[in-house]
Symmetry: C2
Subunit: 423 residues, 2 copies
């Protein structure tokens, strides 16, 4: 039976024929080139040429969104109109095989450079199940992570070591101890903190895990610490083993900067959940007509086997609107090949006040909810900050307004007083 | 002696205080966060906080280039002005160490997401020589490539297998044979063609190298074929060995989709020049106020050890202006840590007519000049197409107008007639 094609949906904008631009993308990214060449026979085309499946015209604008577009076919004296459209293209699986870097070169390669359009964004991607034969997906996902952390229903609440860089391994361990005693579920390194001279990963793991293991012996629950092992492949594998041998339960990587093949190489020998940080993602997405939408992006990483995927948070400190965050979480929770479940990581300027709206919109507590300053800068210290966040989620689940719930929960009251007013 | 800091230069745009935005980037990407935290002591800050070295104000515009900016401090009734500026920031080496993925997370991580600005682009990057201790750089560069190809002064002229996908290994080998007999120096797979079911890399290498080796035995010169081995790390290493054992002299990778750690893992066991394809690059650069400039980008790949770097070409088929292409080539030719030389790969809609202007602007023939349709679609076939390109470069070097040189060079005459009019 032939294998289903790879289906990519794009948002494009062009002053030229939308149909022509769709055909150009399909051609350039499969068997065509800018000139007819002898080898492109009808037989070859019928096998190898990508097919435009559908075009849906959207609005039109008077100015190009991106530079460098070449305008053809506008009658003299008329102003060009930049038509937007979604375009769906099917790429034959046989062009690529199960090879994610080359899949990416096909669906998000040179097409952004084409001068026929003034905007091109990859909106979504459908990959045939055949990829599951090579790409194993997340080992732990939501359930495996919950099992390791020992939290079954409510959100797993976590924090980020701050300051991001500058602390010694001993200072980091001291902070983890304090947070652990306060009852934190999850702690992560910052994406800036990997294996620098002032905090070598090996030493940091040793000292942090000493505290984590001591606490686990005492309480029966082990904090999950996502150690940032972003590095070259051999180093990441070595660091993974260091974390594993110390009793650690998570490793973190900067997805975009380690890259698909690097994360995949880590995954192939990995025995721990992979916490995927998307820093640099703004470059892919901040412009509405350039780059990649999260719906497409997250599928590549789930295929590779990333267990936790950052999605930003509602009312975050970054530029991203809530609708976009909600859409990312929804995309991440959609089953892929009957599984390949990854856990959304909510972060960025979170302090608990966002809990009711977050729960209302995403309708699940299967998230890692990560607050940095929101915990660390609580007026009564990190333990109170953590309790305030747990209280905020309890209130959200009970559908009790935060202000009301805060009447009997002083930590939440303090958080509302401190952070509620700055938003 | 302390190690020099990493210096990053950005173009930013903001309706808020330029100084404040520069400080926010420096803070967020080092020891700061959106709230003061107890651990950020003066001692830690003095060690770990990134420093704004300089700010140069440029023009201002009335509309934000990117969405999501939060405007503060504009007096009621006044319109915001979006000030552009270049900002130079020094990041302490000790924050990162010799770790390119984490360096990238620092200089092009979450900063694109900040809502204080309406535009942020990494323009350039200065890395201390300390990185050379871990990152070996290109093994072959310009001289090693010239030695392998046996071309000492003129540009190395190459072509791309077209159709990009769809040909069988035998058909590909037949085409390489034809091009080889015509005198081509270099042939590359398309970035879409790696190891698909219809053209398994192993079989393609076997059949193509049989022709290449046969020709080399006959002529004493071996065509360099850049086999696209973009894939997972283990597969790339295996494919590299296949190419090497078959007598091949080059491997190609899609840099952005294999990623930094993947290419680095290949490099660590590589015995052949790495041909670096930048497909997907349009996403990083097409918007003037988002992403990364090539000057910064190419340094990461040269550090990793890529020998050939794509730069697009003058009068190309894509959106990019000639000035940008010329700047990329200049950046690539600037010595780095006293060497780390990579060879610029000129391509995209090249047919020879661009040779005089290219030479005039870049003042070097140390380039790989790659033409696909420009060779393959020549009216008298590929051999004539190749001769026409060589003639165009000869004319450029002799400073003879192409039209004049074409009087005694019929292949160039045909090329001018066919392609000269379509531009």
């Amino acid at each position: 039976m032939p294998i289903d094609p790879i289906i990519a949906t794009y948002l494009i904008e062009t002053p030229n024929s939308v149909e022509q631009v769709a055909e150009t993308i399909a051609g350039e990214q499969s068997s065509g080139t800018f000139l007819a060449v002898p080898g492109e026979t009808e037989e070859l085309k019928s096998r190898a040429r990508a097919q435009v499946l559908s075009i849906e015209r959207l609005d039109a604008v008077g100015q190009p969104s991106l530079r460098g577009v070449k305008i053809k076919d506008v009658p003299t004296g008329e102003l060009p109109v930049f038509q937007r459209a979604t375009v769906t293209i099917a790429f034959p699986f046989d062009n690529i095989g199960c090879n994610l870097p080359t899949l990416a070169a096909t669906v998000c390669g040179n097409l952004f450079e084409l001068s026929d359009h003034s905007g091109c964004k990859l909106l979504d991607l459908e990959l045939p199940r055949e990829f599951a034969k090579r790409y194993p997906g997340p080992q732990f996902g939501v359930e495996g992570t919950r099992r390791l952390v020992g939290v079954s229903e409510r959100p797993i609440v976590g924090t980020i070591i701050k300051p991001s860089v500058g602390l010694s391994p001993a200072q980091t361990a001291e902070l983890v101890k304090e947070l652990g005693e306060a009852g934190i579920d999850f702690v992560k390194d910052d994406e800036l903190m990997a294996d620098p001279p002032h905090s070598p990963l090996e030493r940091r793991v040793e000292l942090v895990m000493r505290e984590v293991n001591r606490l686990a012996d005492a309480t029966g629950r082990k904090i999950m610490v996502a150690f940032n092992i972003s590095d070259e492949v051999d180093a990441m594998r070595r660091h993974h083993d260091t974390v594993l041998q110390a009793g650690g339960t998570c490793v973190m990587v900067s997805l975009n900067h380690v890259g698909l093949a690097g994360v995949s190489a880590l995954r192939s020998e990995c025995q721990l959940p992979i916490h995927g940080h998307r820093n640099g993602w703004g470059m892919f997405t901040r412009h509405p007509l350039l780059g990649i939408e999260y719906a497409a992006y997250q599928k590549l990483w789930r295929a590779v086997g990333v267990d936790h995927m950052h999605v930003n948070g509602l009312q975050n400190k970054f530029w991203e609107a809530d609708d976009s965050v909600v859409a990312s979480i929804a995309a991440l929770r959609e089953p892929m090949w009957g599984g390949y479940q990854a856990m959304p990581v909510i972060s960025s300027g979170q302090w608990g006040g966002q809990a009711p709206e977050t729960l209302r919109r995403i309708q699940t507590q299967d998230v890692l909810y990560v607050a940095g300053g929101g915990i660390m800068a609580h007026p009564s210290g990190p333990a109170a900050g953590l309790r305030a966040i747990q209280q905020a989620w309890q209130a959200a689940v009970l559908e009790i307004p935060l202000d009301v719930y805060a009447e009997e929960h002083p930590e939440l009251r303090q958080t509302l007083d401190k952070f509620g007013k700055t938003r």
